[in-house]
Symmetry: C2
Subunit: 410 residues, 2 copies
């Protein structure tokens, strides 16, 4: 955004941008003292005092004396975002589970619930009904206190960014399902509903709250049946022209490989996804989570078959990562879900594949680490996404508005 | 960039940002009338008048009455960047040639010279001496009139962004050659020297001046012996953590493929580069440009061997592009150099590979076109890169400064 000298509107534009800057700092890094806000934003102390005052009177932040024991000079008041007043509802449709969470401004997870679900095809109405049923008690407990400012949904599928349409979700047998509309209709909270791909949201969450805080060029790779990912480029989410970018599981790595659920042949997913691991371990490829757990238990017990299956899968993991390193030159690769679990067993194979398969210059710069947020990363990413309208223009929330949650069906 | 209310400095910061906005608009889209600048920038007419006045008195732009015949109302003066006063020196080390150009503000190519060079290993001093010898007469013709504000160099190799170090250039047998330093020492123009990879610069040029103007998500792929590329993400160059991003020629597409010059096996380059084409056409893989020309002549004459070689190479081209489409979700793929020449022969294979290998959602959005700028794309990209300091902060150039070119050796 370029500063614009559009005379009349300028000071209002600057004020709104500055409110956004302050609130984003507090949301991501709070609590912060006024001195810290000065050094992080370049704004003057007096400007910050005024802006914090506005945000405080709108219920977005609180300010308190800091207990700066022993520090010389006047103590700098400490500001923190109010998790209790503005919340988002985060939802997730994962392959083996459904999850809901209420997350407060600042990222505090107020409540989170995850329930197993059986794999298989289910229609969107039914799944969203299940999510709404999970969400209702959480929302009721928060009523009278907090306003829900947005809904974010993490979806295991290919999502059109413009309207939250699920273009394809092989696990559920979906094609062109208007999921954001279904959620809006069923949840009836009258707030924006944003839907995004689970890999993209996992990347966002690990970048803001997990293993990749402060790192600008990040690849997040996660997998179960499918292999997904998300990419952070120069500190921002890679979205692509339609929101479909980051489908790194569908790089073709083996022209004589097996057929992929996407219709192509030899995608990376066919070599590193859970089915490939199970096949190599002598299990039924469709054995699902229980079978995968079995492989890890066997490996922990020293089973050569299980260890070999992990090793072979780790080699393919490294092969694909080497290509990704050449393409993106990331400084960090974060391994989530299945790959996070595999990491202790396959780190040598991954290192070896990176050093032989990636070019020296980008290869030397990259570290590979397991994810920090575990299976909740996509759900927490959905919460971050749902906060974006508030963070981009908090001024719109400073006018008086109803503070009550409208509970679906209430 | 967020607007900052840092009281004392604010108006100066805003002025500099606005000067930059105006100059960038004129550099990329000029000439523009004041009315067009108002609608493109959101600045007021009077602000624009003042800013144009400053840029004009600094010799960066001119303003003239427009001949708006038939349009109602007062004619809006037309501003254009002055190509004759501020120029950059663009240099290129390509696989078969060396090139130099003087490019004026606004992108006008004032002079351009390209000479063939034999392939093979040459040291950096010798090559840069050759470039300096080519550049000298151009610079002398411009002396007394224009100031050189920067040097940009396009290099066929892996370039560290921070200091223009060539990490590796297989064609020249280089490892860790401080090329920007060599250029600064030999050219002695006392201006910043920026070096970047030819694929990245080809992408930049096609995005700003060629086949991808106005498109935000673009992949540029070009190849000779090596296969390089550049990526535009949300309107900006993808650089990665060290400037090495975009090495799409080194996605591993065939685990049983042949050894690549990068040390890995089965990179895309080994299947779609010029050596693969020549091998398939029954030629010596190291036959170089003359042999490649021979294949295209034979194909134009209907030779089945040549046509089959192109077709098979086109299938691999499409296979790699499908992976790239899944990863980046671009709306445009621009085929440069070898692939631009191949395009008429292989467009059916590419379309077929994209429709069977890319996922539907991103696959439906992408168009594939030949490059518009031909072999000069990287050189013109180097010119764009060299203009960036001036475009980002023109205020620094508005103070009086010597207008003479200092010619190397003079």
């Amino acid at each position: 955004m370029t500063s614009r000298e559009a005379s009349g509107q300028r000071s209002e534009t600057v004020r709104r941008a500055n409110l956004s800057t302050i609130l984003q700092e507090l949301h991501l890094h709070g609590p912060l003292s006024r001195s810290e806000l000065v050094s992080r934003t370049g704004l003057t102390r007096s400007a910050i005092r005024g802006l914090i005052g506005e945000l405080a009177s709108g219920g977005l932040v609180t300010e308190e004396r800091s207990a700066s024991i022993g520090a010389p000079g006047r103590p700098s008041p400490l500001s923190r975002p109010r998790a209790d007043r503005h919340v988002v509802l985060a939802l997730e449709i994962a392959i083996d589970s459904l999850a809901v969470a209420l997350v407060g401004l600042g990222g505090e997870v107020l409540e989170l619930q995850r329930v197993d679900r059986a794999r298989g095809h289910l229609d969107a109405d039914r799944l969203v009904d299940d999510l709404a049923r999970l969400a209702r008690p959480l929302l009721e407990r928060q009523a009278q206190r907090a306003a829900v400012v947005g809904i974010g949904l993490s979806m295991v599928g290919v999502v059109r960014a413009s309207d939250g349409m699920i273009r394809v979700a092989p696990n559920l047998g979906w094609r062109d399902v208007p999921l954001a509309d279904v959620v809006a209709r069923k949840l009836r909270l009258d707030v924006p509903v944003t839907v995004a791909n689970d890999g993209d949201l996992g990347a966002l969450a690990e970048h803001r709250r997990g293993a990749a805080i402060g790192v600008d060029d990040v690849i997040y790779v996660a997998g179960e049946v499918g292999v997904g990912g998300g990419v952070i480029v120069a500190g921002r989410r890679l979205e692509g022209a339609g929101g479909y970018a980051g489908e790194i599981g569908h790089i073709r790595v083996n022209p004589s490989g097996s057929e992929c659920r996407c219709g192509a042949r030899g995608c990376w997913e066919t070599e590193v996804g859970e089915r490939a691991l199970l096949r190599r371990a002598g299990q039924r490829p469709t054995g699902g989570r229980a079978a995968v757990d079995g492989v890890f238990r066997a490996a922990a017990g020293g089973s050569p078959v299980a260890l070999d299956a992990l090793t072979a899968t780790g080699e393919w993991l490294g092969t694909g990562l080497a290509s990704i390193v050449n393409v993106f030159n990331p400084s960090l690769i974060v391994l989530g879900s299945l790959f996070g679990r595999m990491h202790p067993y396959v780190s040598a194979q991954v290192e070896q594949a990176l050093s032989s398969g990636a070019m020296d210059a980008p290869g030397e710069m990259v570290r590979v680490v397991p994810a920090a947020l575990g299976e909740d990363a996509p759900l927490l990413g959905a919460a971050e996404l749902a906060f974006e309208p508030l963070l981009i223009d908090p001024a719109g929330w400073l006018a008086p508005r109803p503070a009550l949650v409208r509970v679906a069906g209430a």
